[in-house]
């Protein structure tokens, strides 16, 4: 019988432009906070999984990211690794920790995201393989292709994408540590400069400096689970390794495979989710995930988000911190942390009354990779 894994501690630094701080310093700060929040001592840690973010290298020469970080922490862990699933890496790090704990490889595992993508990185103007010869650059262009196709297939409008961006800003206004609290209305959205049509600056998530960590541990390590630990009810992962040349590339996220399956393994459906933390690198990805997870039918996300349904006080509590669009780019670890806060009942002004079930998603590597976590109180 595999051991049950729980999330026992959370911690993060401030997010924004943190000039002069190194990623390593930020990672250590977030880890200290998370370990202390869990009530563990540093000597209790026997696992380390890292998400080095969009600008830190996964490998420096022959040394993977976790090795240098673990060395600085003075760890000799029983289990360690660095995730390589792009934007799905934070969620998959928690999955890997839970699997290692379940299999008995370690008992108290740190999962940490950290980066100084805002102050250290030059840009995110990378070419997309050989297709850079046609001017195919960056993540926005790829997601713009997805958005344009969604619009052509289903009649989705810029005003529908706007609902996601506007809701995120309204949520961030209730998040003390949010990087972008300036309110946004429809006029402001429409006036936002175009990056790659139909995506505007306001459709794109933030770039941030910051770090966030959680402690995953075996349930048996916590004598009193009641107060702070959150259960991992189910997990899912799906990869669609098709290239952009594949007809289904923009029409079905791998989330459509692992999302509903993970919800089913937890014994629930999308309608039972009290709080959804969906990876929101671009507004269109939120709409596509609402469809993929079954919150609404394929092609109906625009109608679903209309009328403030995902805004504060709306019927679906979606990214109550403002997410990647307004809280800050925390890989996906800030999403995990907010899910834990909501289930603990410590989310302050953002608290969803009686929240018992949280869904977290990670979307990465273009349209290729997806990871799902379902957490419960």
């Amino acid at each position: 019988m595999p051991r049950t894994a729980v999330i026992a501690g959370i911690g993060h630094t401030s997010f924004g432009r943190l000039e002069g701080r190194t990623a390593r310093e930020l990672e250590v700060e977030a880890i200290r906070l998370a370990v202390s929040d869990a009530g563990f001592a540093p000597a209790d840690i026997d696992g380390l999984i890292t998400d080095p973010g969009p600008s830190q290298p996964v490998m420096s020469g022959i040394e993977p990211h976790y090795l240098d970080l673990g060395r600085q922490l003075g760890l000799d862990p029983d289990f360690a690794g660095t995730e390589m699933l792009g934007g799905a890496s934070s969620v998959s790090s928690v999955q890997r920790a839970a699997m290692a704990i379940g299999a008995g490889l370690c008992s108290v595992c740190l999962c940490v995201y950290g980066d100084t993508a805002l102050s250290a990185a030059g840009s995110f103007s990378y070419g997309r393989g050989a297709e850079a010869a046609f001017g195919f650059f960056g993540a926005a262009g790829l997601h713009a292709l997805a958005a344009q196709r969604h619009m052509a297939r289903f009649g989705t409008r810029p005003e529908d994408l706007a609902q996601v961006a506007i809701a995120a800003r309204a949520h961030a206004a209730r998040t003390p540590h949010a990087q972008l609290k300036r309110p946004l209305d429809l006029d402001g959205y429409l006036a936002s400069r175009m990056v790659a049509e139909p995506l505007r600056r306001a459709d794109c998530c933030l770039i941030s400096d910051g770090a966030a960590a959680v402690v995953v541990c075996a349930a048996e390590r916590l004598p009193d689970l009641a107060a702070r630990a959150v259960k991992i009810l189910s997990m899912g992962q799906a990869h669609s390794l098709s290239t952009i040349a594949s007809p289904e590339h923009f029409d079905e996220l791998p989330a459509a495979r692992c999302g509903p399956a993970a919800l089913a393994r937890a014994g629930i459906g999308a309608g039972d989710v009290d709080v959804a933390l969906l990876y929101d690198c671009f507004t269109i990805v939120v709409l596509m995930q609402l469809e993929a997870y079954g919150f609404c039918k394929l092609g109906e996300a625009a109608g679903f988000v209309a009328g403030g349904r995902i805004a504060p006080g709306g019927a679906l509590a979606l990214n109550p911190t403002g997410g990647l669009m307004a809280e800050g780019y925390g890989g996906g670890m800030l999403h995990v942390i907010e899910a834990v806060r909501q289930l603990r009942g410590t989310a302050g002004d953002r608290q969803v009354e009686g929240a018992e079930l949280a869904l977290i998603s990670g979307h990465g590597l273009g349209m290729n990779t997806h990871a799902t976590l379902v957490l419960g109180r």
């Binding site: 010869a133 046609f134 262009g141 344009q148 175009m194 990056v195």
Partner: protein, 88 residues
């Protein structure tokens, strides 16, 4: 490959990412009539008139050391084109 196809989706880059590609320009996914899909550019078409489903044909254009297959509309594009069937 006859070099004929339709626009499966596209984006108009409005931000310049690289000095060799000054914005605006149209990047498109072309569904070739034989089945395969490829990324290319739409040329010789006002940007505002590019549509998903638009019929296009290849033309080979030198760019630096390369000769690239780019695509242009088959018929003169209009603001309100007749639907061309299912989205490719």
């Amino acid at each position: 490959m006859a070099g004929a196809g339709r626009v499966a989706t596209f984006t108009i880059y409005r931000q310049t990412y690289h000095r060799d590609f000054p914005a605006p320009y149209v990047l498109a996914l072309i569904a070739l009539s034989e089945g395969p899909r490829m990324i290319s550019n739409i040329v010789d078409c006002p940007h505002a008139l590019v549509r998903v489903g638009m019929a296009v044909a290849v033309r080979f254009v030198p760019r630096g050391d390369l000769v690239l297959p780019l695509f242009a509309p088959v018929a003169a594009p209009t603001a309100n084109p007749e639907p061309e069937g299912d989205i490719p």
